[in-house]
Symmetry: C2
Subunit: 389 residues, 2 copies
């Protein structure tokens, strides 16, 4: 079979490879970034679905850019298109990032990705024929020297960043790191794609302004911003959005129309009714309290067992350093035997397939109840102690 | 702005360019391939949506290949994956075609397209960096010599075909043309992508078996089959599917996962409940009767006015030859002034932007009631007679 080299070059997604383990009865899953069922406002969504099913536009074709009602609702809820800009609805933030990368970077060109990296981004770069170069974000005082170095070293067409409650790291770029990143972009004339799906999930104070908001203060900086309903409404709606300068967003819309014509009309109507229902603020408060308690439970248990836990102000993930001498891939096998699933650090390595970050594991605190989180942590710690013995 | 040449090469879609005209009050739209609201089973869809909203999997992530319940329901309703094959759910048949082309044909390679061509296929080829070569289907007795010649002339990586109630032509390949196409594919070792969204909309006797079904009889023939719920359930669900040999379908799934992760979980649950509701057979009978009457009304009016109307056994389109001396693009302007919208033949030209097929227009008989179809035909004919005068 003669397949395109672009598709045969796609690395296996190490997170999707965990799905069979996750389906085992009795397995407690700390590996996947899936909200738990009690973190959806099921009643609100059912009501929105019933209302949407009666909308005239629910069952027919619609604009490639998205349902005008949803574009307006997203603008009210998150952030409208900037002046001179445009907002398009996408099938999740992932499609927004994919369209932005393909619009900006032709096959064979280079893009910059943070290390560690969410592996789906590697898959989409491979499928678009893009070369990737990593950059270290580093601590606040290193002021993104890694990004500056990567920009000097190559000939990048775009920078990808997840600066707020990152995946897997959980860290958030400070205001000064954000302004530094925008200055570097502007100096190099390279657009930046800001993946921002977790912004609504702040567990204490709200995060700093997005790079897209700050871009107005940095002449020449160009940001394409990707948002998502998956993490604060429901992943099953498969809806996200992108904003940015009109020429780029129009190009993304053209690519989207060529790929799959338009966003799902019916799911968009459900989202409009839900975002307009008056329930979202209360729902978000409830989810934030739920996740904050789960994060604290996981964090406390791991800290006591000797994990080093970086500060995380929101999102869904911890990316702790394992206690001295532990290796994540070895621990993964013992953990599976003890019915708990973790995402070993090398799943986020760049280059993919190396053993980088084998002293770390990504743990999602969103998917299990507080009691189950404690049980999962206890199983993991017991498995670790057996490894050490 | 430094955009990728793949996106700047996308030709304007001349059908989507008609949308502003279609929105004018009082305009009767014969141009767009949109089912009318009375061709949806709204009650059945509302019930399915209410049931889907209560499903545990409705609001969360799911498999990249699609909801197992929907894969099974499509298999029962249309055709399951062939032995040794695989079925994946897609965002409409268009995404199925796009994924198949990208899986088989790397940027810079050539694919074969029928003339005239549905222009969205040109957009997706451009966005994937593919060169296109046209082939004429011709009358039955020419036995696809055009395809044979195109295969000899180039170095094609894939053949695209829409052999059943084609868009725009409305024609259906005979059994012998189908077998001839499969033999040509097998001899050349080139896979064929069969776009088959209109199969359920037969207006008299059912169509011949699909190329995918017949492929079992032709050793070496390789067919990827794309189906859709858009034309017989509802376009607003944005769901289609692809079947074919597992290695190609797995590659398509990998591309899909990289592009937008997975199909819409909630829309898939709605489709499962609807396909299992027992309402589909009755709904299809009603829609076929509706469309048959509309087709007859349009056909009769145009025939009387001197149009030459090729035989069309189903689907949604007529692609008549205009009366002697008429040109479609000139007629388009007069028709718009008379509040009726047509898709001029050159919208389907290959190469795009040429004036091929300017003696034809694509007219959709699905979108308007019988009375409005008659009114639209009367306006078009009056506009034409004014052009001639």
């Amino acid at each position: 079979m003669n397949l395109s080299p672009l598709v045969t070059s796609i690395p296996e997604n190490p997170l999707r490879a965990l799905f069979p383990y996750a389906a085992r009865p009795g397995m407690l899953n700390l590996a996947s970034g899936h909200p738990s069922r009690d973190a959806y406002d099921v009643q609100g969504l059912e009501d929105a679905a019933a209302a949407a099913a009666r909308d005239p536009g629910a069952w027919t074709y619609g604009p490639a850019a998205g349902d005008p009602g949803l574009i307006e609702a997203i603008g009210d809820f998150a952030r409208p298109a900037p002046p001179g800009g445009k907002l398009i609805v996408t099938s999740g933030a992932q499609q927004a990032v994919e369209l932005a990368l393909r619009a900006l970077a032709p096959p064979g060109s280079e893009v910059l990705l943070p290390e560690p990296i969410y592996p789906a981004i590697l898959s989409l770069c491979a499928s678009a024929g893009l070369r990737v170069r990593g950059y270290a974000v580093g601590a606040e005082d290193t002021a993104l020297d890694g990004l500056a170095a990567a920009l000097r070293a190559g000939n990048a067409r775009a920078i990808y960043a997840l600066p707020t409650y990152s995946n897997p790291g959980g860290e958030t770029w400070s205001q000064s790191q954000r302004l530094r990143a925008l200055t570097l972009c502007a100096e190099a004339g390279v657009p930046l794609i800001e993946d921002d799906p977790y912004r609504m999930l702040h567990l204490d104070s709200p995060p700093p302004p997005s790079l897209a908001e700050l871009a107005a203060e940095v002449p020449g900086a160009c940001v394409i911003h990707a948002g998502s309903l998956s993490k604060f409404v429901a992943p099953g709606l498969r809806l996200g959005w992108a904003t940015g300068p009109t020429p780029i967003l129009q190009a993304m819309q053209d690519l989207r129309q060529a790929a799959d014509l338009q966003p799902n009309s019916f799911a968009q109507r459900v989202a409009v009714h839900y975002l307009r229902s008056g329930r979202v603020a209360g729902h978000l408060e409830r989810v934030r309290a739920l996740y904050a308690a789960r994060k604290a439970a996981l964090s406390d248990a791991l800290h006591t067992a000797g994990f080093t836990i970086p500060q995380t102000g929101g999102g869904m993930f911890l990316f702790p350093r394992l206690p001295e001498g532990q290796q994540a891939r070895a621990l993964f096998d013992r953990a599976v035997a003890a019915d708990v699933l973790i995402a070993p650090g090398p799943a986020f390595a760049l280059p993919a397939g190396t053993s980088r970050f084998d002293d770390r594991a990504r743990l999602c605190f969103a998917g299990l109840s507080e009691d189950l989180i404690r049980e999962a942590a206890a199983r993991l710690i017991a498995a670790m102690e057996r490894t050490a013995a």
